[in-house]
Symmetry: C2
Subunit: 401 residues, 2 copies
């Protein structure tokens, strides 16, 4: 017995596929986040399974442990979980009752449903963060149109209406300039059975993101704070570290995310999307899984966010989060008009041997996230140009200057 | 049409699994080299298959495209190749006639059998390098015991006897101090049907390795020259770049490997194991696949050797080969007495959050390569200590000081 043994967190009961002791992590969902987590699992030598809706999904194409099933079905979830030591997620869409059923059946679910709830329900998240005294945009529950106009009377137009659950990548968020626009959104939402909250429109200076991990035994680790550039609610690029951010503000943002992770009982990753305003930082959104703001970590940090998530949900000690180069820039590749990414890849690789291209195996549709590129280097302006040029060439399906 | 299009090499006829244009690479063999190539293929978004002897092999455990078959069977190879745009290898054991059958059937085999022959047949390799004027240990064909004693009379004892084909990791190599020892080895070899060559015993100062890639259209790329530390013929650690190597000697070693790759018509990776002696560099061994001397590239270079091999065999432009940090040290994890690596992993991760551990999913047997660790940093002595400590803890199954 060594000294470390007394302090180190315990690995959950190991029941590897062939009795060799490797724990098995099952990820519900098989998009690109699961695909990149699969790469990390291979490196760590742990078992990894995904629950995919169909065999063509991004992670299902590449993962030896892909099961086909419906994440809304308790039967499918229970069958999937039976082969896993820990169940985790590449999205927030598994309904609460199904999560509860998994727990009742004895599955280890991380993040735990009680924490995940705050990533699934924006109203619950706002109320909980407000109770913790964490600065957020002002918000109100919307029961009827009167709630929106009352909120606007207090805080002005535009008003941001958000679906309480189910939104991502800008879906489920509407910026309404007038009462009639808001009423129209509310009517459509009611027709679809969506609950809404109203939030003040924040005239932010820029958007930042804090990515942290927390393990069941309480260890926490924070990545450098990044700047994210979003268009139409979709992340386009990530600059690492956030340019010009003071050390004090960096520490504040990391502390904020670690506090939220601890207070909400998060296990695994927590991404906190932040508005930087003249008055300080406001929390915009939370996600409890690998996140687009952390794709740069694959090359840019000693421990990728995907490996970190696996380590955290398995209660393994967390890895170093430092920046491996001086700067990193990640730019998303969005689908364009040309369905054949590989035909274009050759030009990008020829033009810049130092750019790192990740393709997700997804069918190209305009605006869909189909890959990303990362460049690491000393000059953030120059690596930003290189990353944008590569992503743009892959994205657009049109000739670049 | 862009300017690059006129110069860029062509991707082979793409017939991705679902018509989306991704090429499919098939790797014969499913050890850790195929496993790590699988990780790289996931990132590049290409199709990847392995031909495994059984479903428990290292790469077969994790690769969605694993077929079970015998690499010595033409029927199995042809069936495997039918689903692949390019066939490549994680070992040198596929017999020549089977390779020829693949080519006759229209498969694209890379490296081509004519080049691979020089990695499969040490006598052919020595003769070819000698004809090219490339410095090697002196050698002779062994037809009978008289050839060995004549060779020893000219070059002294000890004499190194090597199996012409089939050896790796020190197997198939015997250092013989006396004529009777050599005669005994030769008798055993004849009984097993092995052909031998005799080589002079080189009193080298240290061992180096040059890793290069070459694409069918002739592009070449060289990684930094590394020092390898071998024990009993097995690579134990790799220091990057080779400490204290002059710029001139680095360039000489890179040029040597690029020359061999071009002269032998290699496509894909070529690893050249070198002896550094007072008189200069001598070529020890060649391998035409990802190689243990290049595992450090996963974290230590902009392009891992596994991605580079895929790019080369697909005739995609090669990636940047520079060192991403100041130094890298890779140490192999060899199996010890404790079969449960995961039970030990937790201590290694707790002790050093910055060490990168790779486990291969292999059953632990004493002395077997079951993983490796890499540390990147500014101080090679310090990162060497960290990597050795981590690997030793995982390797030994005994307590470390």
């Amino acid at each position: 017995m060594t000294n470390e043994a007394d302090e180190a967190p315990a690995v959950p009961a190991a029941r590897g596929p062939d009795g060799r002791g490797e724990p098995v992590v099952g990820m519900v969902g098989a998009g690109q986040l699961a695909r990149m987590t699969c790469q990390a699992a291979i490196g760590l030598g742990i078992g990894f399974r995904v629950l995919a809706a169909d065999a063509g999904e991004s992670a299902a194409q590449v993962c030896a442990g892909a099961s086909i099933g419906d994440y809304r079905s308790s039967a499918d979830l229970l069958a999937f979980a039976a082969g896993c030591d820990v169940v985790t997620f590449d999205h927030e869409q598994v309904p609460g009752p199904q999560l509860a059923a998994l727990q009742r059946a004895g599955s280890t679910v991380r993040p735990e449903p009680g924490a995940l709830h705050f990533a699934q329900d924006k109203r619950a998240m706002r109320e909980r963060l407000a109770a913790l005294g964490i600065a957020c945009p002002r918000f109100a529950t919307v029961a009827g149109d009167g709630d929106i106009t009352r909120f606007a009377a207090a805080h002005g137009w535009p008003v941001v209406l958000k679906a309480v659950s189910g939104g991502y990548d800008g879906r489920g968020v509407w910026v309404c300039a007038t009462a009639s626009e808001a009423a129209e959104v509310a009517t459509r939402a009611r027709a679809r059975g969506l609950q809404l909250i109203a939030e003040e429109y924040v005239a932010f200076e820029r958007e930042l993101a804090a990515l942290v991990a927390r393990s069941p035994s309480g260890q926490g680790a924070a990545y450098p704070i990044v700047q994210t550039v979003q268009r139409d609610g979709i992340c386009h690029e990530v600059l690492v570290p956030a340019p010009g951010l003071s050390l004090g503000r960096q520490a504040e943002a990391q502390r904020l995310a670690l506090t939220i992770a601890a207070e909400l009982g998060v296990t695994g990753l927590l991404a906190v999307e932040l508005f930087e305003t003249a008055a300080g930082l406001l929390v915009n959104e939370l996600a409890m899984r690998p996140h687009n703001c952390g794709h740069w970590t694959i090359e840019g940090s000693r421990t990728s966010q995907f490996e970190q998530h696996l380590r955290a949900v398995l209660d393994l000690p967390l890895g170093a989060t430092g920046l491996a180069g001086r700067h990193a820039v990640m730019v998303n590749v969005l689908g364009g008009d040309d369905p054949d990414l590989h035909d274009r890849l050759i030009h990008v690789l020829a033009a810049d041997p130092g750019v790192k291209v990740h393709l997700y195996g997804k069918v190209v549709r305009p605006g869909r996230k189909v890959g990303h590129v990362t460049v690491i280097g000393a000059d953030i302006a120059q690596i930003g140009d290189r990353a944008r040029r590569a992503a743009s060439y892959l994205s657009l399906g049109t000739e670049q200057p």
